[in-house]
Amino acid sequence: MQNLIEINDIHHRVHASFSIHIDQLFFQDGPIYAIAGDNRAGKSALLRVLALLDTVDEGRITLFNTEARNSRQRTALRRRIGFLSQHPALFRGTVRENIGLGLRYRSVDPEESVIRIRRLLKNFAMEKYADMPVSQLSAGQYQLTALLRSLAPYPEILLLDEPTRQLDQDTYNAVVDHLKMLNDERAVMVILATKSRDVIQRLANITINMRDGKVVRILTGEHQKKVGNGKGLRVS
């Protein structure tokens, strides 16, 4: 297993009263990672830093053994990542146009784009909404469209912030199964920030607990199930 993401002694000031500070954290290909914690634990801030949307004040982050030193390198790395923010913003247009946006940025062949979009819409029973303006979507459909938009470019790393928010049960199950499939069959690294114990139990192989901007605990293996009652092992 190789380290796809390495965090070394980072300090990032999110705003005046909150910052995240992580000594060392490695994400290896293989497991699905869950970043868990209460509000203001730093989950979203950590994901944004991993997605190269925010620059750390100190320390190093490397993705695919590369540290982004300029905007071109950042763009190149971001094109290998799929990111879903906690409050995603879709752009004016239809569901189909939004899902295809990342593909257009990467200049993916139009025919290939059509195939990928169609496949995603079909997998999540969204075909009949393909040409609907996003302004007319329900909250769950909006969230799902944003998620599909991040999946369409076939990223190697998925960074998802509360991906199952606002989803109905069937869609929730479909999303969980799809993420598991991506990890098992296509070796996509999945890192999700979540407060949902069900998502952690169903998906995560490794859970990283955060509090006040720091990693306080890392749980692996069968000890995942102990996340719910707050007890766990400290992994050295």
Binding site: L53, S71, F91, L101, G102, R149, P153
Partner: protein, 213 residues
């Protein structure tokens, strides 16, 4: 005076339309210069956070409200005769219009720029793709900003014609000088009416475009 001005337009008075053509040509150059300069300044200021961003926005808004008379007084201490020329007028007009385009574009873009910017970057957009996406998201508001800029140009040109006709008693160097007996103020009003009509038509066209999209 209004009736005489309308008569000049209805009779398709050659001098009127020659001056209108000159005025539109100058206005066109001003608008192009203001757009080429103001839109990028507004876009960059609206999208990016940088150290003196607030100061830049503040100065743009101060500059935006700079009255033409204030600038005119400043220019009068310079080589005034160089500004009573199409080139000078283009420069002067652009100085008044750039802050409108830049300042209002920055306001329009910055309203939800962080979320939009982050989403586009997260999707793998390059910097230019990000700018294009953000501009597309706000295209109607940007059209509105451009319309306001065009309106400013036309009003300044109308005011300039009044000024040169009443004060200098002459037209642009490239058109015949008007004799006092031709009552140049009617000419200025006629030109102003025509330009106002162009402005209203453009505005209606933009509103229709917005409806269609």
């Amino acid at each position: 005076m209004l009736i005489e001005a309308l008569q000049l337009l209805i009779q398709l008075n050659g001098a009127v339309f020659l001056n209108i053509a000159n005025a539109l040509e100058v206005a066109g150059y001003i608008i192009i210069l203001a757009l080429v300069t103001g839109l990028p300044i507004g876009m960059l200021t609206g999208v990016h956070t940088f150290r003196f961003r607030r100061l830049v926005l503040y100065l743009l808004h101060i500059w935006l409200f700079l009255p033409a008379t204030g600038l005119g007084i400043f220019i009068s201490y310079l080589h005034t005769d160089q500004f009573i020329s199409p080139l000078g007028f283009i420069f002067w007009g652009a100085l008044l219009t750039i802050p409108i385009i830049a300042g209002l574009t920055a306001d329009v873009i910055s309203s939800d720029s962080r979320a939009t910017r982050d989403e586009t970057l997260a999707l793998g957009a390059s910097r230019w793709q990000m700018y294009a996406t953000m501009a597309r998201q706000k295209r109607e508001q940007i059209y509105g900003v451009v319309t306001v800029g065009i309106a400013r140009v036309f009003t300044e040109i109308g005011g300039f014609y009044l000024m040169i006709s009443f004060v200098f008693k002459q037209g642009f160097p490239s058109v015949p000088v008007f004799e006092l007996s031709n009552a140049p103020e009617h000419l200025a009003v006629a030109i102003g009416l025509f330009l106002f009509g162009v402005l209203v038509y453009s505005g209606l066209h933009i509103v229709q475009f917005k409806k269609d999209t």
